[in-house]
Symmetry: C2
Subunit: 117 residues, 2 copies
């Protein structure tokens, strides 16, 4: 299924696709603070399942945002950290975070229109 012509209209389109996953910005935020082990991340996002956490981390890894390092020991240990691209992405997201914070009260009020039910 390659041969797809130009999936994105512009860089912004691509960037939103990368961080659009339900948990990705929260993972980015956690990993920006410091590297985390799998279990730490899972406990930090209490409502995420192991499958989904794995999926999101694997996608971020493929996108070059997250670095995954396994330590061959018993019990197994895996650490996730940000790559250089991940750190620069995080910086690029700072203004957006500030915008969201500034408009938070209104965005909470309109939450139900974006998530009916």
């Amino acid at each position: 299924m390659s041969a797809r012509n130009k999936p994105y209209e512009c860089g912004l389109d691509a960037a939103v696709d990368v961080i659009g996953g339900k948990w990705k910005v929260l993972l980015l935020w956690a990993l920006a603070e410091r590297p985390h082990r799998f279990g730490e991340l899972r406990r930090g996002l209490p409502k995420i399942t192991e499958k989904v956490l794995t999926q999101q981390l694997r996608e971020l890894e493929a996108d070059g945002i997250v670095h995954r390092e396994t330590f061959p020991q018993v019990p197994p240990r895996v650490e996730y950290s940000l790559t250089e691209a991940g750190r620069s992405l995080n910086e690029a997201l700072a203004p957006l975070g500030a915008w969201g914070t500034a408009h938070m009260s209104h965005l909470e009020a309109t939450y139900d229109q974006r998530h009916p039910g």
Copy 2:
């Protein structure tokens, strides 16, 4: 997940939710250039359906990003433009767009992992 007390963990979380719709950043991009009529937007995004375009515009309107103005004429005419919040959101998105542009070639290569099938 319907209405909770605190739907968002942080401002970034909220902002991504607002622009996370499949077409929203493209609409923002078009409207930042100049106001557009409904049909102009539809022709600019050839693959969007009228129903989805209406939905996304209504959500952006509720979020205070987009201003909708109807002219009571025959044939009917409706113009969409950015509000002040919309313009500031657009500015906040600029670094993210630059990041996406800089990493575009890699993001195109990993497109299939985010969109299997």
